[in-house]
């Protein structure tokens, strides 16, 4: 499709997007970059209502990918598409000191800016808040979850399990004959009722995929052992040359238990990241999931050594601290789903600060200098928590 037809179709689609945006109270914006098929850096701007809508893309061309350049492109992209909504006004008009704080918040249309965590993006987020393009900014919680998974790859027993699984996975997916022999054995076992999937290797940019790799090797262990046995019975000339390291991993009686002990936590982490990536995932899930995972490590996942559990807790704390803003904590407190966890996380330290302290900072930030608004916010918050206290223990329903 090209020419006038394309322009017409794009105009219709953009009109529908503008219509949808005009009806929204507020929105979030994300900016993300990738390398295109022509090896050029491309950035896209997505608006969340919370339905994700593609607003614009830009290329920096000869310009460097600095925070300032990214912010200029972001504001230009937003201004071009949001002119109809704002008229002649600019983004920072909401922050006019003539308005009361409550009015400022009502006029501010872009409340949150979310990006992943490279340094220019982090700086750009700060500049955008200073320039009043948005009310606040924060890091992508799904990326933070991936970075926790990356940290796990350096902690025993995940470290050995991951290396062993990847060694087996790489060998059997890259060796045509070994892969074919394994597939035949796996199919025979499947026919006999065994639940065996195919070997999976995670993508390098998606660390939580470790769970899929380790689980698939674990599930294939029986077929892998049969494959080794079959191969050993072949005449020497027809035998596949399986690397000694791979043979040792498959034959070792310790492989299965060492992989199995890593799976529950990795699966929990992977499914948590999938929740954070899902459309319509609420903002509260970021702090909720990280807090719940951290609490779970105190009393659950007993198959992991204590040292590993405390290292993971440290990693969860560090990674969340990198992305979090007090308003994320306030969102966590405002989500009824997480109400049973609130008391338990109250004493937990996140980067040296407790969640109730961060919640207080969020209220202070929202209220600004407006004492009356601050009072009303605090009163509502107290009333909201009182409802929780009045509810039967552990069961938050009528």
């Amino acid at each position: 499709m090209g020419g006038r037809l394309l322009i017409g179709a794009a105009g219709t689609s953009d009109g529908q997007v503008s219509e949808r945006m005009a009806g929204a109270r507020t929105c979030g914006v994300s900016i993300d970059g990738m390398t295109s098929v022509t090896h050029k850096g491309v950035y896209n701007i997505i608006v969340y209502l919370p339905l994700a809508l593609y607003l614009a893309s830009f290329r920096l061309g000869a310009d460097r990918s600095t925070a300032q350049n990214l912010l200029v492109e972001l504001t230009q992209g937003l201004q071009a598409r949001l002119a109809a909504r704002y008229g002649g006004a600019t983004f920072s008009d909401w922050a006019d000191p003539g308005h009361t704080r409550e009015n400022q918040l009502a006029l501010c249309w872009i409340w949150g800016l979310v990006t992943d965590n490279p340094t220019p993006m982090r700086l750009m987020r700060r500049l955008a808040v200073d320039a009043k393009v948005c009310l606040f900014s924060y890091g992508c919680a799904a990326h933070a979850g991936n970075l926790v998974a990356k940290d796990l790859a350096l902690i025993e027993p995940f470290k050995s399990a991951l290396r062993d699984s990847v060694a087996v996975g790489v060998f059997f997916t890259r060796s045509t004959r070994a892969g074919a022999l394994l597939a035949r054995n796996a199919q025979q076992l499947r026919n006999a009722g065994a639940k065996i999937g195919s070997l999976e290797l995670y993508s390098r940019t998606r660390w939580v995929g470790e769970a899929a790799t380790i689980t698939s090797v674990l599930a294939n262990l029986l077929a892998l052992r049969r494959t080794l046995a079959d191969n050993r019975h072949e005449p020497p000339a027809a035998r596949i040359r399986i690397l000694p390291r791979v043979e040792t991993i498959i034959d070792s009686p310790t492989t299965e238990p060492s992989l199995a002990k890593c799976v529950p936590f990795l699966k929990a982490l992977a499914s948590s990241v999938a929740v954070l990536e899902a459309d319509a995932a609420p903002l509260s899930s970021a702090v909720g999931i990280f807090s719940a995972l951290r609490l779970c490590l105190d009393q659950s996942f007993a198959e992991l050594p204590v040292a590993a559990r405390s290292s993971i807790q440290g990693s969860l704390g560090r990674r969340l601290s990198l992305i979090q803003d007090p308003l994320l904590v306030l969102a966590f407190y405002l989500d009824p789903f997480w109400c049973p966890v609130r008391q338990r996380v109250a004493a937990m330290q996140w980067d040296g600060t407790t969640l109730p302290t961060l919640r207080g900072r969020a209220v202070e930030f929202l209220a600004g200098d407006d004492a009356s608004y601050s009072l009303r916010l605090s009163r509502d918050l107290a009333a909201f928590f009182d409802v929780r206290r009045a509810a039967p223990r552990g069961l938050c329903r009528a």
Partner: protein, 152 residues
């Protein structure tokens, strides 16, 4: 009243039950319109990769952008109300269960589909046959996979 309907999207909960907290309700409704992750951008890139392919690598960037916008936004706008159809995921319920706090109002929803924008497990391509690789080189390949791009 308490917290009936905890499985609802919090934005919907505040619409339905937030009336006693009028000041906080405005803030809550705005906060719950925001996403916790930038996965929408990753999904948009996946659409962009379908438009701007190796075969069509001379496509004008402006046209590629228009086509991506049409493809991505049409699919999104055709969707049902994502807030109304939202249900808490199994993963979140399981975390609460592990903490001994599983108080549910409804059966857990099906787990969310993995975001298509981020590459899923098993998508990595490994070219070439590995049987002829020396053990040391094999170890280097394994380390390369394990210590790949850190995506920070």
């Amino acid at each position: 009243m308490a917290f009936a309907g905890r499985d609802l999207h919090p934005a919907q909960w505040w619409v339905l039950m937030g009336e006693p907290f009028p000041t906080l309700r405005v803030v809550a409704l705005r906060l719950f319109a925001l996403p916790p992750s930038a996965a929408g951008g990753e999904r948009a890139f996946k659409t962009a990769k379908l438009v701007h392919t190796a075969v069509r690598n001379r496509l004008d960037p402006a046209k590629a952008d228009m086509q991506t916008r049409i493809m991505f936004n049409s699919a999104q706008l055709a969707r049902a109300d994502i807030i109304a159809s939202y249900g808490r995921s199994c993963a979140e319920h399981m975390l609460l269960e592990r903490l001994g706090m599983a108080a549910v109002d409804q059966a857990p929803a099906a787990p969310p589909a993995p975001a298509d924008g981020t590459e899923g497990a098993g998508e990595e391509d490994y070219a070439g046959d590995i049987e002829e690789v020396a053990p040391a080189a094999f170890d280097a390949i394994v380390e390369g996979v394990v210590n790949g791009d850190d995506n920070e």
